[in-house]
Structure formats: C-alpha cells, structure tokens
Amino acid sequence: MEKTSTNNSRRTFLKSSLLAGGGLMIHFSGLAKFALPSGSAETHLIQLTEINGYVKISADNMITLICPNPEFGQNVMTSLPMMVAEELDVDWKKVIVEMGPHDSVKLGGQFTGGSNSVRSYWRPLRMAGATARNMLMQAASQTWAVPIEEITSKAGILYHEKSGRKGTYGEFATKASAIPVPKDVKLKAVKDFNVIRTSQKNVEGTKIISGKPLFGLDYKHEGMLIAMIHHPPAFGMKLKSFDASAALKMPGIKNVFSLKLYEDGFEQAGFDVRSFNDLLVVVGKTTWEVMNARKKLLVEWMPAGDVIDTMGGRGGKRDVIVPGALENTTAQLQKMREFAKKPAQQLRKDGDPETAFKNAAQIIERTYDAPFLAHNCMEPMNFFAHVTDEKALLVGPLQAPGLAEPTLSKILNLPADKIEIQMTRMGGGFGRRAYTHYATEAALISKKVKAPVKLIYSREDDTTYGIYRPMYTATYRAALDSNKNLIAFHVKGGGIPEHAIHANRFPAGAVDNYLAEGWAIPSNITIGAFRAPRSNFNAAAEQSFLDELAEAMGKDPIDFRLELLKRAKENPVGKNNEYDADRYAGVLKLVREKSGWTGAGDKKFSRGVAAYFCHNSYAAHVVDMTMRDGEPYVERVFSAVDCGIVINPDAASNMVQGAVIDGIGNSLYGGLTHKNGVVEENNFHKYRIIRMHEAPKTVDVSFVQNDIDPTGLGEPPFPPVFGAVANALYKVHGRRFYQQPFLLSKPDGPSV
C-alpha cells in the first residue's frame, strides 16, 4: 500500500518482503491492494526490518512507524507514532507512518474509544521507541566493538564520537532485530521532548485533500460485489415474508436472501449489540444497482414481540428480555416521568440527605431531559469481507478490532488466526463503530454468496439502524439552609434503556449530604457509546443545575464551583471521588482568565460557563451567545482543558474546537424521535447538523501546562459544551431550558 510520509513529500510505495535469515519478523501489508494506485510508477519494493511491532527500518534508513489504533479523526495516526519517534530519536519529517493490521500480540489493545488511545499507549509506545533505539545501539556497539555507553544517537544516526564512527539506523537494523528486547530502558525526561509537545501535521493530510482511497467505503477488491441490507422499518418489527422476484430482475443483481445475524442462544458480548436479527440482503455489482433493486423488494414485516438476548461475559450467561413494543417519543417521555417517581437503585449516599432535605429552608428541584442521538458519522457504516471455508479477510472502518474478532470467530466458526482484520481510516466514529454488527453482517453475506463483498449502509440505513445515545432524564434537588448554604444534594437519573449517573463525580465529595440514584426502562431501541457516554448528558443537566443553584445562592457560577472544589480538596466527603479537585478548579480558573470573566456577564454577549471531568481529563468552556435572526447563536467560545501533556498541540486545539462545535450543534439541534418504532429523522434534511454559518467565529483553546501523563481529549471537551450553552441560553432568553435539543424545547418556568 501507499505509505504515509510525515513530510508529505515521499510518496514511495513500500512493501515489506521476506528477508533471508536473521530471525527477522516478516511483514507483509495486506492492505497493499487497497490503496495501490494503478500503474503507479512510484511503486517499488523495499525491504523492511521489523525491530518491534511499531518500528520498521529499511537498509537505506527509511523509518516506518506503525500506528496500532484505528483513526477516526482524533489524529492518533500522527500522535501515537510521535510518541515512538520521540524515544527512537528519528527525524519526524522523514518518518513513514502506516496503519497497523489487527494484531493484539504485537500492537496491544488497539481500541479507539474512551479517549484512551494516547493514555493507554503512552508508556508502551515510548518503550517501543526506546527499546528499538537501544537495540540499534547494541548492534552498533557490537559491530564497532565499543561500549554502548559511548554511543549516541541523533535523528536516525548513531555516533561514536571517540572514533569518529557513525552509521544509520538502517545499517544496524538487521542486526538489531536479532537482539533480545531489553527490559530496563530509560525513557526521556519530559523536559527533553522534542517531538512530543510540538505541533505536527496530520500524516494523512495530503491524501485527504487529494481524494486518495483511505476510507472503508473506498476499499476495492478483485471481484468485489456490493451488498445492502433492508432492515425492518421500525424498532420492534421483524421480517415476515418477502418477494424478491422483481428485485432479482433488476440489472446487476446477483442475489437476494434473508440473513440471521445471530443464531438463537448466541452469547452476545458487550459490543455485540443488534438492532435487528432478521435482515434482508441484496447483492449486486454496483451500489446504484443494488440501491435500485432494493426499492423493488416486496416485504411484509410483523411485530417482533419480546425478544430474548443471551448475554455472555464475565457475569456468566444470562437472558435479557427485549420488549417488543413499538415506541413513541411522547410515550417514552411520559414513561420516564412515571419511573422517576418510583424508588430507584441507590448509587451513592453520604451523610443524611433525607434529614437535610427535611430541615431545608429552601429546596430547588429541576428535571432535565435529553433525546436519543444518532452518531451521523459522515461515512455511513460499511465493511468489506471475503470469507471462505478456510479464512476470512475483513477490511473497513471500526474502532475495536479486538472486540470484533472473537465475535467473527464464533459466528464464522474460524479460529482467530484465520481472521485478518484491517483497519481503514474512518469517516467519523464517535463511538458508533465500536459496535461492529455491520462487519459481522458483511462476513455472513460474503460467506453466503461465496465472494468478496462490501456491505454499504445508505445514510437512511445508518440513521434508522443505529446504536444511539440513550434517551435520558435526571432530577436534581438541592437543599439550602436559611443562610443559603448548600446542605444537601440529590440526583435521581434515569433513561431508556440506561441512566447516565456517575455517582462519584463532582459535586459528590463537596456536599455533606449527598444521594445519587438511578433507574432504567428496558427498550428495543439499541444504544451504545456516543462521544463521552453518559457524561454528555450529565454535564448538560448538572452544570445547568449548578448554574441555577449559584444564582439562587447569590453567587457567581465560577466562584460557586470553586468553593465546592475547595471543600472537596480540603475536606472531601465520602470515598471514591473520581476527580482531582485541583485540576478541576484549574480549568475553571484558566477559562475565567482567558475569557475575561467578570461575573455579571458581558455587554455584547450572553455568557454561560460550564466545566466537567470525564475520561481522566478536565474541560471548561465560556460560551458567548447572541440572538441572530431569531435564533440563539454562539459567536465565541473560550475553552480550557487539562489533559496532562499535550502530544500534538495544534491538532489537539483542532479537536477541542471540533468538540465545541459538535456540542453546540447537538445541544441546540440534535435529537432522534420515534413514531411507532420508526425513526423520524432519517437523513440530514430532518436531522439537523450544525453547519458553518452556525459555528462560532472563534473558539479560543487553552491547555493547562503540566507534566502529568496524558489523558483523554476526544471526549472530555464535548460534555461541558451542553451545559455552557444551556447557561448562556438562560442569559439570552431570561428563562431556563431543561429539554434538549434546546432549540426545539419549550422552556418551563421555574417550578419553585
């Protein structure tokens, strides 16, 4: 395949080949055909020596670094190899970066999700770079017969100053690869970093702006057919019968059949979420032909009734009943209201909240709701599969090959080593592509038609056949004494089909009497992770509530939070508080400074502030809002983030800016409703996505500068945007907004 050069100038086509002898690892890129530019003159073969799974070096000192984690726009293909390059001591501008195949032995967990890529690879990748460098130095030490301590490196070249000898890494790569991996290698001190903490450009930037095949949808394979799935029109429905005679007569159509995703009793792992089990499949030559033929299907659907999902996993096998009802959004809301009144599961309790509420001089109670959200990745779900009796090749966009593989292995009845998974760049993920039923579907289709097949979801399929952010509600209560001191805090959250409550997060630990409870309503609407799961609702609700609380107490919203955080630091209540009060306060102080927050607001803008902790990082935003053409418009945002060491500062800013815009869009416009189980917003004409003219003019991003090991960044800046927008809306409208999406909600008056 065409490798990615970090300086965008070396467009050499590489292919690893087998070298004779030397105990070398053999590497052959199976993606080779994927991006092969037909008739490319740049194609030639280069021998690569694999020092370890992440580092390959050619004899002429071309350094190839392997990115273990799938790329969905969070820029890991740049930031992860930067960490290797730092310790390996190579010239970043000359490094080639390649996406690794799925290989959990060589490449670790390979999970893109939970803002965990940088955090989980922080040590392994630096170690990979450092041990590789050490092995190269050992090789030079042996060759030159000088002590290793006397050898230095600089930008891919080894030096022995005393003797004036020098040699490239490439010269020693073969020898180095045979040296046992050293155990104790010292990593660089933070102050010595010269790749990490410097802004480096996206290694695939040139390919992106020139339209090179990168994404799953772009993948091509000899003899490949196209498949599309016709799924039930509503959650709670299933296939009754179908007549494919007209569809089969359409040009280019090879096959139409029904397919069972999981056999009865199949033990689903956590990410084996299935929206529908009986699917109708159309296979043909080209996408357009398949799309047209699908319209000719005559299908009868019927209510599925209650369905049993058999869940596997650590807790042992258990059956879960998925209710068959065809759901409606208004009824869902009503049901949530009923459930909210029932006793719920206690998640955390500090002190004596009951008594405190009984003795309160004032109780403030507010309820917040948020709808299902669809991920709306720009690249709809798709996957390529070529399954034979002996082996399977799967290529496409997915966040977690290590989670997909065991499922594929069970369903295809093939051992894991016969299943090759290759990761393409993803046109967005946001959590959606951790649920790879679409890869399983592609594999089953390929197996059935005995041909290489690419399964493609239309936009409508993608939106109506989703793994959504759940529908949430939460009621917050605060008890104030006669001096307007906060004496008790209570949150009771619920949702369809799960609640969002993180019981051990702020303000837990800062209030003497605290109670967190949760409840859930089962549903057939399939849900999963959506950029900062649960947090994306909590931050909206809790941060709105704190804003309202501060106002009731006559305090500045930032000061109020800082007071609570001071308490949580100096005299924390309870155990297991998840957050670091200092770092939390740090982002609030930074955003206060950067935004010139003066408390009472601003002459030009209506200001809202919010902060949140999730995925081990801290983020705060000040949102400056105006009214424009009758709609609220966020014109300017200040963001402060503490994610420890920032690997690639400019790209990190880009991601925070994106998270802010995503948060504004989803809080104001996002939402998915159901009518008799049918998703009503099936494409962008109804599912409103924020557009350029609705994005702020500026998003000013600041990072807290510290030397703490890096933590997540893809998710943490996202949730507090919702809260900051809600609080700015209050300032612009003079009334609170309790229901998302805010632009469609009717604000309730204060209920006190």
Partner: protein, 154 residues
Amino acid sequence: MITLNINKKNYKLDADPNTPLLWVLRDNIGLVGTKYGCGVAQCGACVVHLDGEAVRSCVTKISRAQGKKVVTIEGLSASNNHPLQKAWLELDVSQCGYCQAGQIMSAAVLLRENKSPTSQDIDDAMAGNICRCGTYLRIKEAIQLAAKESSSDK
C-alpha cells in the same frame, strides 16, 4: 453508451443514464475521492465541478454530465497544489477527513468567483457542506488563507 469527460479524460460508459454521477465516479471509474454522505444533496460530501459549478454528484445524473466537463478532487490540481489544498495542509484542517474533498471543491468555486470573500461570503458558499467533526473554523481560515495567497501570487 455515455461518454463523460472527467478530469480531462474521456470515459465511455455502459451505464444507465439515470445513474448519479457519484456512483459512476466511485464504482465504475474508480475515483473515490468524491464521497457519499447523504444521497439527497444535503451534506456536500459529493461535490464535483460540472462545467465549473459545484454540483452535488449524488443527485446529478450522468445524462446531465454528458458533453460537459467534470472535475473531481483528483483533478483539481496537477500536484495537490491548488491554493486551497495548500492552505488546508498549512492549517491542518482535517480531522476524519471524509467531508474535506467536498469542502475544497465547494470552496474552489467560491474563490474562482470571489477573489477575496468575506466571512459572510464564505458562510453563504459553504453552508451546504457538513463537517461532522466540526472543522468549520479551520475551513474558513483556510479559504481566507488561500484567497490571500492567490492574490499575492499575482
């Protein structure tokens, strides 16, 4: 048989004249830089130039493209050196990157017609292109940078 002129090359195709240009580009010709996003002209991921106009290829039948000049992202410049492409790299605009070809193709028409677009002009031209990662600030900045670079080249 339909003949299409794409990136200055002629292609003879045996395809239904009602086929959207998008799918002919992607499936028949193998130019996959033009993306499928929505299929209903809502997102702009599929923008190509048809006689210089930023058409949404997902709803543009090949019959309409016959006898006209089609330019895709692959043909926008000789060596990825269109001022917009350079500005996109300079400002490291992309996140996932899926929408960016469409963004650039829309922006190219804007810059051809308006050498120094205001922020409002850019909003007006680019509102048809969705970026789910939210890179709008950098897209706008890159368009402004490209406009500046183009004018200083002269």
